[in-house]
């Protein structure tokens, strides 16, 4: 029981499965809502802009850990019955949507004004203008920052450990406690995170360089 054998590695990998699943869920959920947030944030409707600005400032101004706790305990109070992982999903979605919304707002506003004017002049409606003209360009501009946030999100799922989720970080703690080799176990856990996050980070940096090169042309 004192060595790190296949069982322990398997246990860590099961944690990793949750880490990836939680990240994916948070990213998809955050992506969908983040898009709405970004659109609301750039709409012509002032109260909508204000509201979403408040939303963003609240979720960027409080710790993800607190968001997890508040959603975890709060959601049942409004009469819904949910599993821990639904609560974690909701919290990650809210969190990610605020950050992605802000990233994409910036990108939408960075699309040259002439583009939406040209679309207007052609008689294109809001939906087509947004879907066909603005968003494809904005998403390209925002890709490096989006990838960067994905890395943050993957790391952020480690906080689900604190509300009792056995994902990678938590699995590491459990294995460390069973094997009494924290140096090794946390080293391995850190390395696993690194192996997932680093290629993404590199990819993000490469995208950024490519965009910068394109802009310099």
């Amino acid at each position: 029981m004192n060595i790190i054998g296949p069982n322990e590695i398997l246990f860590l990998l099961q944690g990793l499965k949750w880490t990836i699943l939680l990240s994916a869920i948070g990213f998809v959920g955050g992506g969908v809502f983040g898009l709405l947030v970004a659109l609301a944030r750039t709409s012509n409707w002032k109260s909508l802009r204000r509201t979403t600005a408040g939303y963003i400032s609240v979720f960027q101004g409080t710790p993800l850990l607190m968001q997890l706790f508040v959603v975890y305990y709060g959601i049942t109070l409004i009469g819904m019955e949910v599993d821990a992982w639904v609560a974690v999903t909701i919290a990650l979605t809210l969190h990610a949507s605020a950050y992605l919304g802000e990233i994409w707002r910036g990108a939408i506003q960075a699309v040259p004004k002439g583009q939406s004017e040209a679309a207007n002049a052609l008689g294109l409606h809001y939906v087509s203008r947004t879907k066909d003209i603005i968003l494809p360009q904005a998403l390209r501009l925002s890709l490096p920052a989006t990838v960067g946030f994905l890395v943050q999100l993957i790391k952020g799922t480690s906080l689900a450990a604190i509300v009792g989720f056995i994902e990678l970080a938590r699995a590491g703690q459990i294995v460390s406690n069973q094997t009494y080799k924290p140096l090794l176990v946390f080293g391995i856990v850190g390395a696993v995170y690194f192996v997932i996050c680093w290629p993404l980070s590199l990819y993000g940096a490469r995208l950024e360089n490519r965009l910068a090169a394109a802009a310099a042309r």
Binding site: T62, L64, M66, K155, I162, A169, F194, C197
Partner: protein
């Protein structure tokens, strides 16, 4: 399910919570200050002639930025003692925050330094200043000014991250809250309240940063 919201127990503990908030603020400020120092020294090392030093800085930055804070702080608290390095929870928290924030600060500040026009550096050299003087006197301040917004938002994130320090039983707002929670079982009320307190802390930080900006970086640019 008859759960009635009751914030009174939380408000009874307000003095403790405020002390915890103060502790959080202390951790965050200490962490940020060290992170800024690490950031500046790291960039200096990153720009130095010694490629080993440059490689070390790059490795440090990439490792820290691509692993979770929770794992980092566990590593420092539970694993480093095996190598004979033992710090109490508060010190551990400050080190972890400094290391984490420092890695991001290096990346951000490096971006600012890279954006400084070559002519500025050449003008400094032509006046007879040494490379280190040029970095310190001529490059640093305009570089910091240009990346100030991203640096400060990173530091706000760092402040929020400090809540994770509760996992090593450091004394700060979240750990105080968890003790109150375990005494009262008023989980939602407790966490809701301290979420608001964190929000206030980050707003305070933002105004502090704005103040510093006005004070130090208010020189006009074209």
């Amino acid at each position: 399910m008859d759960y009635k919201l009751d914030f009174s127990v939380v408000f009874d503990e307000m003095p403790d919570l405020l002390l915890g908030a103060l502790a959080t603020l202390g951790l965050a400020l200490a962490g940020m200050t060290l992170a800024l120092i690490i950031g500046i020294l790291g960039v200096a090392a990153r720009k130095s002639r010694f490629c080993v030093l440059r490689g070390l800085v790059i490795g440090f930055v990439e490792i820290v930025r691509n692993t979770p804070f929770l794992v980092q702080i566990f590593f420092i608290f539970f694993a480093l003692p095996m190598l004979g390095l033992r710090f109490n929870p508060t010190v551990t928290a400050i080190i972890a925050l400094a290391v984490n924030g420092g890695a991001y600060a290096i990346e951000i500040i490096r971006g600012g330094v890279d954006n400084i026009q070559k002519g500025q550096i050449e003008a400094g050299l032509a006046l007879g200043l040494h490379k280190a003087q040029v970095f310190r006197l001529i490059v640093l301040k305009p570089a910091l000014r240009s990346i100030y917004p991203s640096l400060t938002s990173q530091f706000i994130m760092l402040t929020l991250t400090s809540s994770v320090c509760t996992s090593i039983a450091a004394y700060e707002l979240t750990s105080v809250a968890q003790i109150i929670e375990s005494d009262t079982f008023r989980s939602f009320e407790v966490y809701f309240t301290i979420t608001i307190m964190y929000l206030i802390i980050s707003w305070m930080m933002m105004s502090m940063f704005a103040l510093i900006n006005r004070h130090y970086f208010s020189y006009p640019v074209r």
